[in-house]
Symmetry: C2
Subunit: 197 residues, 2 copies
């Protein structure tokens, strides 16, 4: 049905998440109609991202430099550390423009079922950072799944001897309807209630 | 927010149809986690598809060879020609496995607003094919938009002196509910009514 190089491209595109056979065909036919320089730019961007982007040696966030921009920045508060499981959580938090401290990316959550124990995560370097530097607060911002909870508690226990450890709030999402919230969220929202100012 | 090679990849991915900033970020972060060989395979597939796939010199369908597989096939009926506007229509028709004739891809539809006249399409080679070969029937399979209708009528007039010209049926889609069909479709379905066997 497809000429061979087109079939190969469609097959490769289907490896991407959320791209099924129909989307892959549509993308491939679109790509064939673009100028060669444009396709080349995409191919080069793919290879350069893959070969140049590694992990920051301090916080383990994605970085093309040995130490990432956030860790190098003199404008960020070095006394506050936010612990997340993945680089995409750093990106999400950065988008809020609310947080001015630094980060530490664990690279996953503790999940014995998947063979991921504390040693597979960047937990030791985190303990070293917190024990050797002056850190006023560590904010743990990990999703409240079973693995997330385990990781939060584990990391919290390790860091408590050195500094104040907090975690982000869970509750009703803004704009969320109380009626449609699931019980666990609602229970968390109740539990986390605060006095009105 | 993003380290530079990652930002560039996200930007390139956003050029693709249906890929917005969120999808582009998700795809890029996924790609960074894949093994280098896998990313390389995608980059190579992109470049090879773009550089190797051209148009069949007979029917103008996408092809990596000078003459496409369908045109070369001895199992296809050379006496029937199906005229479509785009290569993706050939793919859609091939998927039905109903059609055993050959194709001719116009490369678009007549659209003066977009500066596309008959000379920008592969209409002259079609007339040459039909006038010089023994063709029993030309089936025009072009979507019934304004431009599609214009193109169908124009091509039909040019080919009628040489062979029988038909067009595919328009009507209620299979499984479609009469109540929800638009008037134009319903009018076409009435117009195209056939006697029960």
């Amino acid at each position: 049905m497809y000429t061979r190089p087109l079939a190969r491209l469609i097959e490769q595109l289907q490896h991407l998440p959320g791209i099924g056979p129909k989307s892959a065909q549509r993308l491939a036919l679109y790509i064939l109609k673009r100028p060669e320089e444009e396709v080349k730019a995409l191919a080069i961007a793919l290879m350069e991202a893959k070969t140049q982007v590694g992990l920051c040696s301090v916080c383990f966030h994605l970085s093309a430099d040995p130490i990432c921009e956030i860790c190098r920045s003199p404008n960020r508060d070095s006394n506050v550390l936010c612990v997340v499981s993945d680089s995409k959580d750093v990106i999400a938090l950065e988008k809020t423009r609310e947080y001015r401290g630094k980060y530490h990316v664990l690279g996953g959550t503790i999940s014995p079922m998947d063979g991921i124990g504390p040693d597979q995560l960047h937990i030791q370097p985190l303990v070293r950072r917190v024990s050797q530097q002056k850190i006023d607060e560590v904010i743990i911002a990990i999703s409240p799944s079973v693995e997330g909870e385990t990781t939060t508690l584990y990391v919290g226990q390790l860091l408590k001897p050195f500094t104040k450890v907090t975690r982000i709030a869970f509750g009703l999402p803004m704009g969320g309807d109380l009626e449609y919230a699931d019980e666990v969220t609602l229970a968390r929202a109740l539990e986390g209630r605060r006095e009105l100012d």
